[in-house]
C-alpha cells in the first residue's frame, strides 16, 4: 500500500513544482519586457553577518538594521527574535524586533515590487522554503541585487556573503512562503512602491511598540506622500499625548480639525486634551461639536461629554 502511494506522491509533487515554476518564470519574462526597472542592480555595500546554526532570522535582521543605520550584531538580536523550541524565528518576531529598534517594518511582496525596492536602495528580507512543501526548511535571506537578462538574484544568505540564486529556484522557494518579505526602513523613508494602508499599518506598529518619537516621524513621512491623511494626523496627536506633550498634541488635533472639520474623532481627542489642561469650557465646546457630528464612534463622544461634564471645572 505504502509503495503504491509513492509514485502518486511524486507525480503530485512534480505537478505542483511545474505549475509554480511556470508561473514564476512567466512573470520574470514580463519584468524584463516592462523596462521600468534597471536590467541589473546590486547594493554592494549591504553588510553581511554569517549565520550560526539556525540563526538566519537574527542574521538577516541585523543585516537590514545595520543598513538602515543602526549597527547591531545578530547575537544582540537573538533573544528578541529567536524561538529555541522552533529552532528558528517567527515572522512576527522579526517585525516586532525591528519596531522595538524604532524602525518601520513594511510588508513587501511580489517579484516586481521587491526589485523596485532593491533598485531604490532598500534590501528586502524574504522567507524561503529551501525544502519541499511537505518537508519545509524555512530560511530567511536578504535580497540585495538581481540581474534580469541573466536571470538570477543576489542574496546575503546563511554563510554565503554573495549567493547567486537562479531565478527559477528563487521563484519556487519564495513562492512557498506566499512571497513573504519585509523592508526595514528609517521612519523618514518611504518604500519605493508604497501602498497607503500597508505603510500606515507599519507606522501604527511603531506606535503600538511605544516608539512614539519614531511613529511621529513615520506619520509625518506618510503625509509627504499622502498630504492631509487623517490617520497620520490623528496618529501624531495621539503619540504626543502618549508622551505627555499636551501642547503639541493639542496643536496636532487642532490641525486635524482644521483639515477635517467633519471628523468627530479629532474633536473628541482635542476635547479630552483641553479638559486635562483644565480648560473645561473649551473642552465642552469641542466635544459637543463631535457629538453633533455623530458617526460610527458617536458612543465614545457621548462618553467623553459625560466625563467632562462630571469632571471638575
Amino acid at each position: 500500500m505504502a509503495i503504491r502511494r509513492i509514485p502518486l506522491l511524486l507525480c503530485g509533487g512534480l505537478l505542483l513544482i511545474c505549475l509554480t515554476g511556470c508561473a514564476g518564470l512567466k512573470k520574470w519574462e514580463m519584468l524584463q519586457k516592462a523596462g521600468e526597472l534597471p536590467a541589473r542592480f546590486e547594493l554592494k555595500t549591504v553588510p553581511f553577518f554569517p549565520q550560526k546554526a539556525y540563526q538566519c532570522g537574527p542574521a538577516s535582521l541585523a543585516t537590514a538594521l545595520d543598513w538602515s543605520g543602526l549597527p547591531v550584531s545578530p547575537e544582540e538580536l537573538t533573544d528578541e527574535v529567536f524561538t529555541p523550541v522552533r529552532k528558528g524565528s517567527l515572522q512576527t518576531a522579526l517585525i516586532s524586533a525591528a519596531r522595538r529598534h524604532g524602525r518601520i517594518a513594511y510588508i513587501s511582496t511580489g517579484m516586481d515590487v521587491i526589485f523596485s525596492e532593491v533598485a531604490a536602495g532598500h534590501p528586502v528580507i524574504i522567507l524561503q522554503n529551501l525544502g519541499l512543501s511537505w518537508y519545509p526548511v524555512w530560511h530567511y535571506s536578504v535580497v540585495v541585487g538581481y540581474d534580469l537578462p541573466k536571470k538570477f538574484v543576489i542574496l546575503r544568505s546563511g554563510s554565503t556573503a554573495r549567493k547567486i540564486m537562479p531565478s527559477r529556484v528563487f521563484a519556487k522557494t519564495w513562492a512557498r512562503s506566499n512571497y513573504w518579505g519585509i523592508l526595514i526602513l528609517r521612519p523618514d523613508q518611504l518604500p519605493a512602491m508604497a501602498k497607503k494602508n500597508l505603510f500606515l499599518e507599519a507606522v501604527l506598529g511603531l506606535e503600538k511598540a511605544r516608539q512614539f518619537r519614531a511613529a511621529i516621524h513615520g506619520y509625518k513621512t506618510a503625509m509627504t506622500r499622502w498630504p492631509q491623511n487623517l490617520t497620520s494626523l490623528m496618529g501624531i496627536g495621539n503619540c504626543h499625548y502618549a508622551l505627555g506633550e499636551l501642547k503639541d498634541a493639542e496643536s496636532a488635533f487642532r490641525e486635524t480639525v482644521r483639515l477635517h472639520p467633519k471628523e468627530g474623532s479629532a474633536l473628541n481627542n482635542l476635547a479630552q486634551i483641553l479638559f486635562e489642561q483644565g480648560r473645561k469650557q473649551e473642552a465642552l465646546e469641542a466635544v459637543k461639536k463631535a457629538v453633533s457630528l455623530g458617526g460610527p464612534l458617536s458612543a465614545v463622544y457621548e462618553k467623553t461629554l459625560e466625563e467632562i461634564q462630571a469632571g471638575a471645572p
Binding site: N197, L200, E201, L204, E207, K208, L230, T231, M234, G235, N238, Y241, S265, N268, N269, A271, Q272, E276, P296, L297, V300, K303, T304, E307
Partner: protein, 139 residues
C-alpha cells in the same frame, strides 16, 4: 500554616494596591481618546465601500454585467448589504489584481471576474464572502 497566612495577607494587600494603581488611571485617561488604529480601520472600510460602489456605478461595468446576464441593481443592492469585514475582503481581492490601483483603475474584465468568482465560489460554499447566497449544503 500561620506563617503562610500571615505572609499571604501582606502579599494580597500588595497585589490589591498594584492592581488598583494599574487599572484606575488607565481607564480614566484612555477611555476618552480615540486611538489611531480605530481611525485607520474606519477610514479603510469607508474607502473600500465607496470604491466598490464607484466601481459598480461605472457605465462600462454596468454594461459588462448586463452582457454577462448579471442583474446590476441586484448586485448594487447586495454590495450595500455587505458587512464591513466582507467589503474589506472583496476590496483586498480586487487590490491584488495585477492592474492594481485603488479599485478605480482596474480593468473591468478582471475585476468583474473576481467579483463573479467570489459570488460563484460562495454558492459552492467554499467561502463566506456573500452571506446572502444560499449555500448548497444548507439545502
Amino acid at each position: 500554616m500561620h506563617r503562610i497566612r500571615c505572609s499571604a495577607r501582606y502579599v494580597s494587600f500588595f497585589m490589591t494596591l498594584t492592581m488598583i494603581f494599574m487599572t484606575i488611571p488607565l481607564q480614566t485617561v484612555c477611555a476618552a481618546m480615540v486611538g489611531t488604529e480605530t481611525v485607520l480601520t474606519i477610514t479603510q472600510t469607508q474607502n473600500a465601500r465607496e470604491n466598490l460602489i464607484r466601481f459598480l456605478e461605472r457605465k462600462d461595468v454596468e454594461a459588462a454585467m448586463t452582457a454577462q446576464g448579471v442583474n446590476w441593481f441586484e448586485a448594487k443592492a447586495r454590495v450595500g448589504s455587505l458587512s464591513d469585514a466582507e467589503v474589506m475582503r472583496i476590496a483586498e481581492k480586487m487590490d491584488q489584481l495585477p492592474a492594481g490601483g485603488d479599485g478605480l483603475g482596474i480593468l473591468v474584465g478582471t475585476a468583474l471576474i473576481v467579483f463573479l468568482v467570489l459570488l460563484f465560489t460562495d454558492i459552492a460554499g467554499y467561502t463566506d464572502v456573500f452571506p446572502f447566497v444560499k449555500h448548497q449544503k444548507q439545502k
